[in-house]
Symmetry: none
Subunit: 415 residues, 2 copies
């Protein structure tokens, strides 16, 4: 079955609010194997709402609508559907009683327009609203299934989960197959090279589906399959996962949706080891990411933000001869990166030291180009190492990529 | 003119991400008097994208599309529009050069599919991408205006503001209402208290409009007016701004859209002074924010992430008696906050020291409640001070609010 999600509300068209309802409903639909083909937003205009319904009925089997169920003259969702389908509206007794009693208990006189929130369409299944006054609707007409939900998320979400989903499942019958999905998280590889190495799998995908995406310096792949039992799902997902791991397994740091810093904290805690960071161009981003993980105090001893050469010298004892002067490697160099990692390990009495030094831009530095970054990794009892990167993007993007690459290199060392 | 916003991406239909792009574009359209009648989301399917375009062309004059401009086989937006309009695609030289040079500079071999990001349609106006590789498109065909933008918000937003809006304005001609707006940025006050103190202005607003909003620990107010000349706009905006400043002026740190750390860096550089940070619960977030500002190396000497008590002791010499033991104030205390700020000032030979220590959660610490945070501020030649805060929210939210409050206190000291 195909579904369409329609959000009604001029405030969405004006950009005053974000359409988080559509995401919530879309996730719920994916969970029961209902394919959403379109999402639409339409304003509080009776004619355009009706047209949106007419169009949706032509291309979807299940139409899930949020918004426009309130008491005001702008709340036109039920009126528009009533007109389109030629079904009369009536008052839903229990909802009307609830509205009346709420007004009475507040000592307020009920305005006539509040009756509108108790309106239902002939032949529908009323969907109770546990967190507000507007009753929802489930309705089948001419083979199309309509679900009307209130707009405020705190009313919509429970009504969707507790009343609408069971109703939709019942009209879907056997088609309501639970989808199973699994996330693979990658580090140290870009989205396009990852896709390049999996292109035949992605192009030929059917079941499971393979959906790669990237955000904030991380690349993920979501595998999704339709199966009648968890065992069948697991078998199908495992087969595809094995194929992917065979090609790019060294970049997979987790098989669930966690950031790489989460894995680093787990690995450190499990081995009873600690790390410390020395950050120049990332200015504290790496330690900020690690300490965002609850429990990270057992994994990260501390960090030094040595943004200036003075700080590198004063806080971590990097010799001035290394940083400045004719022929010196400079702050942005493999030598400095390695020494920063080693020194921060020592100063913090840690087992691992991680450093980042580079040119985040917008201007070059030490005659070195924007995007040049060195990552240093030190480990107690081993010589420190440094890796050179040339990153692209603006200042923010270079800093983010540098921080994520540093975390990737530490994770590689730890795993 | 009527506009429609189309977001392309299966990840939206699956509810994996929220369609924040639609909101951003809708706000921009409202700003130039372009009425958005519909928003649509469609998956990465060539036929359905084409149908969405065909439908939009029948009901809108301006069609703004995000997503599907990337290098992969799933990126089909340009292909679909090319098919619908019967316009051939070609390679945009400057974009191709950029892509090639980015791959060269990274020492990577360019995958053929990356060429797709340089594709343009015959007769279009290419829209440069300052933050990514995919070129955007502005195109008029049969009286309908198409704007194609990349999906990632960090690429989409600047391209929309700097390239698409001027192009749309040009096709709108006189219909593009000249709106003038001004942003007031607040720190140290929450959204609801700000609204409470301005409620009569907000409720009675007509021209200029007063739109408060909050994001990522910052509160802003945007004043917008419609005027025939910049002078008239300035006069109208100034009047409303004066009224607002009379009530909550002490919390306004800027009259344009910059983060507070930008103002801090400016103030420090102007006075030839430097600061240093000592962070416990924020783990480097404050220094990360400050160093995100270009040129901040002249303002921030360095920072210490003293996440553990050992780090507070070893890196900043906080006496163990202060941190631990019967009757000790503990790590989360005014005494520790003040001493951290003073010590980090000394260690970094700076003029100002700023510290944050608190309980970010999820569990309490030292028997102190989640959300309890102390900020320390030290200044050369003055006794350090500490301020106590009780913040609400989850771990991430408490850390963000603590960092922004620390910046606000430093800004107050500097201004």
């Amino acid at each position: 079955m195909r579904a369409e999600i329609i959000a009604v509300g001029t405030e969405l068209l004006l950009g005053q609010i974000v359409n988080t309802n559509a995401q919530y409903i879309a996730q719920g639909c994916a969970g029961i194997g209902l394919n959403v083909y379109y999402q639409t937003v339409v304003g509080d205009n009776r004619e355009r709402i009706r047209e949106a319904f007419r169009l949706a009925a032509a291309r979807a089997d299940v139409i899930i609508v949020t918004g426009g169920l309130g008491p005001t003259q702008d709340d036109l969702t039920k009126d528009a559907l009533s007109e389109l389908l030629g079904l009369p509206m009536s008052i839903h007794g229990p909802s009307m009683e609830k509205i009346t009693s709420v007004f009475q208990s507040r000592g307020l006189e009920m305005v006539k327009s509040n009756e509108r929130q108790a309106h239902v369409l002939e032949g529908c299944t009323p969907l109770d609203n546990d967190n507000g006054l507007a009753v929802g609707i489930g309705l089948t007409k001419d083979g199309t299934h309509y679900v009307l939900l209130p707009g405020p998320p705190k009313e919509m979400k429970p009504m969707f989960d507790l009343r609408a989903i069971p109703w939709i499942r019942s009209v879907m019958g056997e088609e309501a197959a639970p989808l199973h999905s699994k996330m693979l998280k990658f580090a140290g590889i870009g989205e396009s090279s990852l896709e390049h190495r999996l292109i035949d799998l992605i192009d030929g995908q059917q079941d499971p589906t393979i959906a790669p995406y990237a955000k904030e310096g991380e690349v993920s792949i979501r595998l999704t399959t339709r199966a009648t039992s968890p065992e069948e799902a697991e078998r199908k997902l495992a087969e595809t996962e094995r194929e992917i791991r065979g090609r790019v397994g060294e970049y997979i740091y987790a098989d669930r949706d966690v950031p790489i810093e989460h894995e680093i904290v787990s690995l450190l805690i499990r081995s009873g080891k600690t790390a410390a960071t020395a950050e120049s161009c990332t200015g504290g981003m790496v330690s900020e990411m690690i300490t965002a993980i609850p429990g990270s105090s057992a994994a990260l001893r501390g960090g030094i933000v040595c943004y200036t050469n003075e700080a590198k010298h004063e806080l971590l004892g990097i010799p001035s001869e290394l940083l400045e002067g004719e022929g010196a490697p400079g702050a942005v160099s493999a030598e400095t990166a390695a020494l920063l990692a080693e020194r921060v390990l020592e100063r913090n009495s840690s087992d691992y030291g991680l450093s980042v030094t580079g040119v985040a831009g917008p201007a070059e530095s030490e005659g070195k180009p924007v995007g040049l970054v060195y990552i240093g990794v030190a480990e107690r009892g081993r010589s420190p190492e440094a890796i050179k990167l040339q990153l692209s993007g603006n200042r923010g993007s270079i800093r983010l990529k540098a921080a994520k690459q540093a975390l990737y290199l530490l994770w590689q060392r730890l795993k």
